[in-house]
């Protein structure tokens, strides 16, 4: 009997040791798979990108990066982002405010509409704008009369960029604002604050880190957008080419130059990543400040 019990306890010990070894093995395996996957699909291509960019020497790299066409493409990309991001900032705050703090008919429909750009292929988004504003589109004749160019021009690129990026900020804010509720705003109003003061002093400070995070994601997407912009741009060099479009154009003729310009976008991504990490750290720090109760002696 005693031996049976002893052997049983040894069995349990063994099982436990095996389980521990299994879980350690599992952990190592999971990490290995992840690292291999990341290396193969992320780090290796990025390495190749930089290698190819500098394969022709520093001189060729500088020639590709610092020339008029690239400069113009960079300018246009920055311009599109500089318009799309503030526009979506306003739209995102308004939409999140409406959805999170008020009850109204058609709210779920509105929420679904905000997600539309996530669901629709960017190419379709571009085509929609062509159908609406293009020469043969609905407003084509009227726009022609007013001498306004939208498609195959800068306004079209900005519109397409706004369309593709508009859910980012709203989506980031809605869950947070819903969780925070409206009581603090009611308290501010009761204390005599007007609507504007309530927004600046109560609502905005409560959402600022999430808002910045949303702006960052929105900006990254705005600068990298290819599909929708490609349809409405017309690929006119020095006129309607954004950085991603410019890279594609170069790739057909001069691979090394394409890689060189692509490093610009890659650097942009690295900056975004760094800023995102810093923001996440800041958000965690704030959460910690409001989560840990200090014991009072």
């Amino acid at each position: 009997m005693a031996t049976a019990a002893a052997s049983q306890s040894t069995m349990i010990d063994t099982a436990r040791r095996l389980a521990a070894r299994d879980s350690a093995g599992l952990r190592r395996g999971a990490i290995a798979v992840t690292v291999a996957f990341l290396s193969l699909f992320l780090i290796l291509p990025l390495g190749v990108l930089f290698y190819e960019a500098f394969a022709g020497g520093l001189k060729l790299y500088c020639q590709s990066v610092f020339n008029r066409s690239t400069g113009h493409a960079l300018e246009l990309t920055l311009l599109a982002a500089a318009i799309a991001v503030p526009a979506n900032l306003l739209f995102g705050i308004a939409a999140a405010w409406a959805v999170a703090k008020f009850e109204f008919k058609g709210k779920s429909l509105l929420t679904a509409l905000i997600d539309l750009p996530f669901a629709v292929s960017p190419v379709i988004a571009g085509l929609i704008f062509v159908l609406v504003f293009g020469r043969t589109g609905w407003f084509g004749d009227w726009l022609d009369d007013q001498d306004v160019e939208i498609i195959f021009a800068v306004p079209g690129i900005v519109l397409a960029t706004i369309f593709v990026t508009f859910p980012y900020i709203a989506r980031e804010l809605i869950p947070l604002m819903q969780e925070q509720g409206t009581e603090e705003e009611q308290a501010a109003l009761a204390l005599g604050a007007n609507g504007w003061q309530t927004f600046w002093r109560v609502t905005l400070p409560n959402i600022k880190w999430s808002l910045l995070y949303g702006v960052l994601l929105c900006n990254a997407r705005a600068m990298g957008e290819f599909g929708a912009v490609s349809v409405v741009s017309g690929h006119i060099q020095d006129k309607t080419n954004t950085l991603p479009l410019h890279i594609e154009l170069l790739y057909a003729s001069n691979t090394a130059a394409a890689f060189a310009v692509a490093t610009l976008l890659a650097l942009l991504a690295v900056v975004t990543l760094a800023a995102k990490t810093a923001l996440e750290w800041k958000m965690r720090q704030q959460a910690r400040r409001s989560a840990v109760p200090i014991t009072i002696p």
Partner: protein
């Protein structure tokens, strides 16, 4: 400042939260709105504050010292509102929370920074949190947060203080302490205050007067003593504490219960042949033997002697349970044991106007 609520109705969709409510609150009074959830008490408070707008009906008014404020925005009414879940500004320190109402004033009426500083320090002293001005709300206990919320409300020198279940989210011990503190504060400031609560003990303890609400209407208004001892309806009687219910026949103006006749003044000369009698546990008396006074037979079921009174549960010989609270000395004198047969005398019973059922 006196408050008058006149003919106020409020509907949310098809649900009527307030049904033609009238109420007068005297200047300097602390009044509790007491009722079960869904009785309309919070809606009434929020309408007084201006957080809700009453239905647009003729003659419906909210008067602050005779001035109708029903269509005024909350910011114009100068009310101090304290929320159940504090609603402190989480990104501001205790100091800045209290200073908020002063800082958002238009520049013409905004006090100078030094004055704001003095005022906030004084309020922090009042709520006994002087050393906490740089803490954030999340670094305070529930009771401390509610005190900060109160100081923040007082900072704007409100005409009225409105408190929406202010102690509802706190544990029993803290609640007791804050309740007594609030009463002392009220005695000091004498500010017209309205407190919403569903805790009858809280209402009876802190208020000058209690407003009992049920089904979107006011059931009874009175001093705590009044409503406890002279409840006007079955609902009030039942809501304010335990109650024993007896269904009796009525013969010649007297109630007959288990073949024992009771004199009930309210029944004298009445034409009813059935009546429901109500008695609180402390209004019943236990006797070992019949002593001439009318009493009904019962058997002791359970005894709970832990407390200021001994709580005795009995089963009536005719069926049904009874609750009797005995003063501890009386309980010791009787030396009751479970299973014993005893007699229960009804020292005081009440009869409410019957609701006829056809």
């Amino acid at each position: 400042m006196g408050i008058e609520v006149r003919r106020v109705t409020k509907t949310f969709g098809v649900y009527k939260a307030l049904d033609d409510v009238n109420l007068t609150i005297e200047s300097g009074e602390l009044v509790s709105l007491l009722g079960p959830s869904g009785s309309g008490k919070t809606t009434l408070l929020r309408i007084i504050a201006g957080l809700e707008v009453p239905d647009d009906r003729r003659h419906s008014q909210i008067l602050f010292d005779g001035v109708d404020v029903a269509r005024q925005a909350i910011g114009q009414r100068r009310v101090g509102f304290v929320f159940q879940h504090y609603a402190l500004f989480r990104h501001l320190t205790v100091f800045e929370n209290v200073a908020f109402g002063l800082r958002v004033r238009p520049s013409a009426t905004r006090p100078r920074p030094a004055l704001i500083n003095d005022k906030v320090r004084e309020l922090l002293r009042l709520i006994q949190l002087e050393g906490f001005s740089n803490r954030y709300p999340a670094q305070l206990s529930g009771g401390q947060r509610q005190r900060v919320a109160l100081a923040r409300a007082l900072a704007i020198e409100p005409q009225v203080l409105l408190l929406d279940e202010p102690f509802g989210a706190l544990d029993a011990k803290v609640r007791q302490g804050l309740r007594a503190w609030l009463r002392r504060l009220h005695e000091e400031l004498r500010m017209t205050s309205v407190l919403v609560t569903h805790d009858q003990e809280e209402a009876l303890e802190v208020s000058d007067r209690v407003v009992i609400m049920n089904h979107s209407k006011v059931e009874q208004v009175g001093t705590p003593e009044d409503i406890f001892h002279q409840p006007k309806s079955e609902f009030v009687m039942d809501f304010l504490g335990q109650v024993n219910v007896f269904h009796a026949r009525v013969e010649h103006g007297r109630a007959v219960l288990d073949n024992v006749r009771f004199d009930v003044p309210e029944l004298a000369g009445s034409a009813m042949d059935q009546a429901t009698l109500y008695a609180r546990p402390h209004e019943l008396e236990i006797e070992r033997a019949r002593n001439g006074a009318p009493a009904i037979a019962a058997r002791v079921l359970r005894i709970n002697p832990a407390g200021a009174v001994a709580k005795v549960a009995l089963r009536r010989a005719a069926g049904g349970e009874l609750q009797v609270d005995l003063p501890f000395e009386r309980f010791q004198e009787l030396a009751l044991r479970t299973g014993e047969e005893v007699f229960v005398a009804l020292r005081r019973v009440r009869v409410f106007a019957p609701e006829y059922v056809i």
